[in-house]
């Protein structure tokens, strides 16, 4: 198995995601299988000269730097869980001396 329980927990921390204890073994097993499966890519010799393929326009088009009216049908005060005086309200971060 390529991914250990500890590694899943470390990755979950990077991803800001709670993982509960019961699902941890299954998750580690499934992630290992997915990553082992993806590891077949390393069978192909690495080629530093391959140009990365990006679909879409060759060059980013710039649009005119003009102020246009906002298209929002309603503001963040209606879709944020808590929004006051122009700010998103979040729980207290901690105490500072």
């Amino acid at each position: 198995m390529s991914v250990s329980r500890e590694e899943v927990l470390r990755i979950a921390q990077l991803a800001e995601l709670d993982v509960d204890e019961e699902t941890l073994p299954t998750l580690a097993e499934q992630m290992s299988r997915i990553l082992d499966y993806a590891a077949q890519l390393s069978a192909v010799p690495a080629n530093g000269t391959v140009k990365v393929f990006v679909p879409g326009p060759d060059a980013i088009r710039f649009r005119a730097d003009e102020v246009t009216p906002s298209q929002l049908a309603f503001g963040p005060d209606e879709f944020a869980p808590n929004f006051k005086e122009g700010f998103f309200v979040v729980p207290k971060l901690g105490h500072f001396e």
């Binding site: 991914v3 590694e7 899943v8 990755i11 979950a12 990077l14 991803a15 800001e16 995601l17 709670d18 993982v19 509960d20 699902t23 998750l27 499934q30 992630m31 299988r33 997915i34 990553l35 499966y37 993806a38 590891a39 077949q40 890519l41 390393s42 192909v44 690495a46 080629n47 391959v50 140009k51 990365v52 393929f53 990006v54 679909p55 879409g56 326009p57 980013i60 088009r61 649009r63 298209q71 929002l72 049908a73 309603f74 503001g75 963040p76 209606e78 879709f79 944020a80 869980p81 808590n82 998103f88 979040v90 729980p91 207290k92 971060l93 901690g94």
Partner: protein, 455 residues
């Protein structure tokens, strides 16, 4: 023209499929308002088009099939939706889908699975399973879906309808909730090639709000051709492996014979890196998803799962409880392949492989091949629950569709036969921005192929 009540009645009748997330009452009310405001001169006047729930609409909530966006109303709408409305179409509710479009069976929705219209024990495919099921059930002539790895073509194949994935950059992604930004495109379902193509032509074209959308005029629809004279159609041998379902092979052989009879030149070609497409996709798509889905943190959108004592635990508990199992798995895989120490082994390799896969297609098209013909999916619709415990088995159902997303090419799936009553789809992959050629060939094939006959 249709009246709002008849449109709503047809959709509500298909309720047992669990394909539509919009409650009937809300749907009826909105359709009444929309029909009164619709432009009678629009080319799609009165046409009901339900929209996948990961495409933002002002009329209805946009939840992406996720608890983390439960009840979320977008303050703006997708450009594709604006264009549909300008053409007189009616936005006929939001369709159920795999959570954040991650899945191939529409079983990964927080709002329950979608049933296959012909066999309720089976899945309609995914992730745009709700849109596919509604078109297949005859509730609507067309619907919008989205594609990251085959999420329009695969359910179109399973449900026996037409599904088009346009070239990357043909349709604006503005208002399409991002999953894998370098792969995502809005796609179209239709009862017929023409129904799908006319909706595609309406939603296509430039959009100043999406820098990845090409500066081009909307797609012009071709006429239905008399023959396929002059078309060179390639059959990539990697898409017809020995283990291919025999019925799928028979249906493809029949369609190929018919294209020959219509005058097409058919030749075998090779796309040598095909075997690496699924592993490449399942590195790149989760990597992009882990970044795109970082914004769902319980602060700016949707419900917040409480009990947190500080900001980080608020993020973690909201995301841990708000996302379903498949989404959590992909975020973790994506974070892993992008993390220090693994980036080169996984992500960089996958990027290189993507370039080689795109080059395979260019090589074939440079040698005079106009279009490629392949099966859309290796098998007909599978049973619900069959592949849930095995993510890799589920991913393999995208094996013939992910390549077009990786290479940014247009592709269409159309029904070419049935096996034991279940539809089989055939796929045409075209060259970038040559959807018109691809649609022309699909028109010709659709006219002759016995789509509902056993193969």
């Amino acid at each position: 023209m249709s009246d709002a009540k008849a449109v709503a009645d047809r959709l509500v009748k298909a309720k047992r499929l669990n394909a539509l997330l919009t409650p009937p009452k809300e749907l009826r009310k909105s359709l009444n308002t929309q029909i009164a405001a619709a432009r009678p001169t629009g080319v799609l006047y009165g046409m009901p088009v339900p929209v996948k729930d990961n495409i933002c609409t002002l009329e209805f909530t946009t939840t992406c099939g996720s608890r983390i966006l439960e009840g979320y109303r977008s303050p703006y709408e997708a450009t594709a939706v604006t264009k549909l409305k300008a053409a007189g179409a009616l936005i006929a509710g939001k369709t159920n889908c795999d959570e954040f479009a991650m899945g191939s069976s529409t079983e990964h929705s927080a709002y329950g699975r979608v049933l296959h219209p012909l066999d309720k024990a089976r899945v309609p495919g995914g992730s745009s399973g709700g849109s596919a099921a509604l078109v297949a059930a005859g509730a609507v002539p067309a619907a919008l879906g989205s594609e990251t790895g085959g999420s329009v073509r695969q359910p179109a194949s399973f449900c026996g309808v037409v599904g088009i994935k346009p070239t990357y950059g043909r349709v604006s992604r503005y208002g399409l909730v991002a999953f894998g930004s370098s792969l995502d495109q809005i796609g179209v379902f239709g009862r017929s090639v023409h129904d799908a193509a006319r909706v595609l032509s309406v939603i296509s074209g430039r959009d100043p709000r999406d820098a990845t959308c090409e500066d081009r005029d909307p797609l012009r629809l071709p006429t239905v051709p008399e023959s396929l004279q002059g078309f060179v159609i390639g059959l990539p041998k990697e898409y017809f492996p020995a283990e291919l379902d025999p019925a799928v092979r028979r249906a493809c052989d029949r369609a190929i014979r018919m294209m020959k009879e219509l005058g097409a030149a058919v030749r075998e070609v090779s796309l040598p890196h095909t075997a690496y497409a699924v592993p490449t996709y399942y590195v790149i798509a989760p990597a992009e998803a882990s970044s795109n889905l970082a914004r769902y943190d319980g602060v700016r959108y949707g419900p917040r799962f409480d009990g947190a004592t500080d900001l980080r635990s608020l993020y973690r508990s909201t995301r841990g409880q708000g996302f379903g199992a498949e989404v959590r798995r992909r975020i973790l895989v994506g974070t892993y392949v992008l993390s220090s120490g693994y980036y080169d082994a996984y992500y960089r390799r996958a990027q290189q492989m993507r370039a080689l896969i795109a080059q395979d297609f260019r090589n074939v098209f440079d040698r005079g091949v106009d279009l490629l013909f392949t099966p859309t999916v290796p098998s007909p619709a599978f049973k619900a629950g069959e592949k849930l415990a095995d993510p890799i088995a589920m991913y393999m159902s995208d094996i013939f569709t992910v390549t077009a997303n990786l290479a940014g090419l247009p592709a269409i799936s159309l029904p070419i036969g049935r096996v034991k009553g279940l539809p089989i789809g055939g796929q045409l992959i075209g060259q970038a921005f040559l959807e018109d050629e691809m649609i022309e060939a699909a028109y010709a094939l659709e006219r002759v192929v016995p789509a509902t006959d056993e193969a």
